[in-house]
């Protein structure tokens, strides 16, 4: 890991004599090499966002980008007369990316020096390197999934969503309903797990329950009838949020053991964790099973703790806990939160599609008998 350079999450382009040849203000017409278009499209498909820091007339430059058919590829473009170090900082702030994940490409050594003077952690490339970028390891993510290919689209949907939220005047729950959220809960396959793995690697901010299961472990459990590996995706009328959660459940006779529940911090404000828990509690209730959730408190998963408690989980003892294997020495700080499952009404803020765990389990038990 140490010798592998940190992935670039956003590349900031200069325009004149970098993205295109010529100076749009002076020449009027500029030449746009098809090879540059290919680079833009390739980086976009790898899930690397792209932006612009150009000293230019905004309207003129943007019109040119639209004419070339590449305007849609850029998020938060900074086209104006300010310092480029400020533009790069603004772009990183708006995307909530660390500067260590930002790259900047410009034909002017002084501009690169100016950006690096304020932000030594930003990686700067001269314009003549543009065609080499796609071959560099820092622009080559290990996984390229459906979500990476749609990342820009997801960010752009996010901007529109945020803009709408700012102007929305009313209770949060009404706003949530206006989003027309659809949560798809499904049994995972190999492809789904790769998306989850990519999400954890990228953000390292999964609102995990503090208990870690490796990708290999989860993959091995995909075909185990006593375990369910479940992934969660979310979409709304602005577009997809992509894979936002993963859940690992093991069936015992009298209880369902929730060994892992992780949801992306991006969807915490939508109450996704609570909706998911309520669905699971309702399924367990239909099967007449208690629910036990492993939970290791960390400084990052407080919201998950609150979601468990408000869903009714407690630390009170129950006989059913004797069915579970003892915790390993390394997991002694893991709490086993317990709940006698009861039927729950469906979510009021989103549409949920999910497998019928209890019914499927009953069918399998019937087949065995």
């Amino acid at each position: 890991m140490a010798d592998k350079p940190k992935l670039v999450k956003c590349l900031v382009w200069d325009l004149d004599n970098t993205l295109w040849r010529g100076t749009v203000l002076e020449d009027g017409e500029v030449e746009f090499p098809e090879e540059i278009r290919d680079v833009i499209i390739a980086l976009d498909s790898r899930g690397i966002l792209q932006s612009i820091a150009s000293k230019n007339d905004y309207d003129l430059a943007w019109e040119q980008l639209e004419k070339l058919g590449v305007a849609e590829y850029f998020v938060h473009p900074a086209i104006g007369w300010g310092r480029k170090s400020d533009s790069v900082r603004d772009i990183a702030d708006k995307l909530q990316f660390a500067l260590t994940t930002i790259a900047f490409i410009d034909d002017q050594p002084t501009e690169r020096a100016e950006v690096n003077y304020s932000h030594p952690e930003v990686r700067c490339y001269p314009a003549e390197d543009a065609l080499k970028l796609t071959g560099l390891p820092e622009f080559t993510p290990e996984f390229v999934t459906e979500d990476s290919r749609r990342r820009r689209e997801m960010y752009q949907a996010g901007f529109r969503r945020d803009a709408e939220k700012e102007t929305f005047n009313g209770p949060d729950e009404d706003f949530l309903r206006s989003l027309e959220l659809v949560m798809a809960v499904k049994r995972a396959d190999e492809v789904d797990l790769t998306r989850v793995e990519e999400l954890t690697l990228r953000t390292s901010q999964m609102n995990a329950t503090g208990v870690h299961y490796s990708d290999a472990t989860l993959r091995a459990l995909l075909t185990d009838p006593d375990n369910e590996v479940i992934t969660v995706t979310l979409a709304d009328r602005f577009g997809p949020h992509g894979a936002v959660g993963v859940l690992l459940l093991e069936y015992h006779d009298a209880l369902w053991h929730l060994k892992l529940l992780a949801t992306s911090c991006r969807v915490v404000t939508f109450g996704a964790g609570s909706v998911l828990l309520n669905w699971l509690v309702d399924e367990a209730a239909q099967a007449g099973a208690h629910l036990v959730a492993d939970f290791r408190p960390t400084d990052r998963n407080r919201m998950m703790d609150i979601a468990y408690r408000f869903a009714g989980f407690t630390e009170e003892p129950c006989d059913c806990l004797a069915d579970l294997p003892a915790l390993a020495e390394a997991d002694r700080d893991v709490k086993r939160l317990h709940l006698v499952a009861d039927r729950r009404p469906g979510a009021t803020t989103m549409t949920v599609t999910a497998p019928a765990l209890a019914a499927d389990r009953a069918v399998r038990a019937g087949a065995r008998a």
Binding site: G170, P171, D172, E173, L176, T269, F270, G271, S274, M303, D305, I306, A307, R309, F310, A311, G312, T314, E315, T348, T349
Partner: protein, 93 residues
């Protein structure tokens, strides 16, 4: 922290909480009104309430105190705040 700063009455807490709820829910709530039953607040809002109480009243709400019933009414929240502040003051003394 001096005794004067820590001394908050039930009435003051109740008033503060109702003011907070009025402003975020855009409607007046009664001290004994069931906030969840009346459909006023979602469980997500309840989570924000936890954080609000902790920050406003300088308390930590953890473990068994983190249950929906403690946040069901203004009265229940007031009791929770008073109890946790008293416990914290007792521990400091």
């Amino acid at each position: 922290m001096t005794a004067e700063q820590t001394e908050l009455t039930a009435g003051e807490i109740e008033k503060g909480l109702r003011g907070h709820l009025d402003s975020v829910l855009n409607t007046a709530v009664e001290p004994d009104q069931d906030l969840f039953k009346s459909g006023l607040v979602s469980s997500m809002f309840a989570m924000q309430l936890v954080v609000h109480l902790e920050e406003t009243y300088d308390i930590a709400i953890i473990g068994a105190d983190l249950k929906l019933d403690s946040f069901r009414t203004v009265q229940a929240m007031t009791e929770l705040v008073l109890r946790l502040r008293a416990a914290a003051a007792g521990a400091d003394a």
